[in-house]
Subunit: 191 residues, 2 copies
């Protein structure tokens, strides 16, 4: 996605340790028009996926996910990082965060993820694929199918895609970072 790649090269900031900061337009301050274009692109890519529901994980996945849901006319569910005391019928799994170097428990109500669902997972980043694996585990517990997974930015050098492809999941990323070596952003849109 050309618009997104240009924006990443223009406004993305690179930090040691393979960190790409896009907090001026994607995951802290958000460019609402860009986010809509991102969602249109996901909707186009997954138009034939047979998804009946969008799933994301709080917090940075919510903005693209709600717009994809709006364009595709589908409900959106966000997996929560804190377990609300009123949540009934809860499914949980553990996700490891490399960035924060800790495990955390995430949850979704079984009421909104069932064996009738075929979900499209939308998130801001694909890195090591840990959040995505958490979603696969939740879907397995619920008996739900996965129609595909869409990421705004993929860090190819962290190889999360390999794990997902091995499980037979269709993966679409709108900008693929090949390298952040020497704090230089090398980018493509082909996996």
């Amino acid at each position: 996605m050309e618009l997104l790649k240009r924006r990443i090269l223009q406004d993305g900031k690179c930090y040691p340790g393979g960190i790409l900061k896009v907090d001026s337009f994607i995951n802290h301050q958000m460019d609402s028009k860009l986010m809509y274009h991102v969602a249109e692109e996901f909707a186009r890519l997954f138009a034939d996926s047979g998804a009946n529901k969008i799933v994301t994980i709080e917090a940075s996945g919510i903005a693209p996910a709600i717009m994809v849901g709006y364009i595709m006319n589908l409900p959106v569910v966000f997996v929560k990082k804190k377990q609300p005391k009123t949540m009934e019928n809860m499914l949980t799994t553990t996700v490891h965060s490399f960035t924060k170097n800790r495990d955390y428990t995430v949850c979704i109500s079984h009421d909104f993820l069932t064996a009738d669902d075929r979900i499209l997972f939308i998130d801001d980043f694909l890195a090591y694929g840990n959040a995505a694996q958490g979603i696969i585990d939740l879907a397995d517990q619920a008996g739900a199918q996965i129609a595909g997974m869409g990421f705004i930015i993929e860090k190819a050098f962290q190889h999360g895609r390999d794990i997902l492809i091995e499980k037979g999941i269709r993966v679409e990323s709108l900008a693929i970072i090949q390298s952040l070596e020497n704090c230089e952003i090398t980018i493509t849109d082909q996996a």
Copy 2:
């Protein structure tokens, strides 16, 4: 907002202690079309507010906020509940959660909240007004003005509005819950 009120009466669930659960259409599973209509209503109400930026707080405020931003053609910033290690130039404040009975620190980058900003705060619930007061504190620290605050649902019996009105802030809620006594939802759209 008639559509919203009807939906709350139809799908909202009431729990002892003044808890209204709307997790099938607003803050866990989200009805993307309803969310768009909610955003259109906020955009209409605040069209003349002079806001140059939408601010919300993760996680449930993000979906309505990004859509308001899209419709009003404004950037959206979400205040974070965890402090990212790469955030520079950070402003923080403490918010008390009555629901969870604890204080937590929230943060926003000063880069995205400055003395040039006139912000519209959007959130899912107005209850005691604690999150809103956190936003006021962050805006004060940044020297930013507040153009208004919009809430999808207000729990009038928890009186958050009074605190905000006293500070001269314009408050708009799209559905106002007068009472949840005996687990019966009494609702209006006038404050």
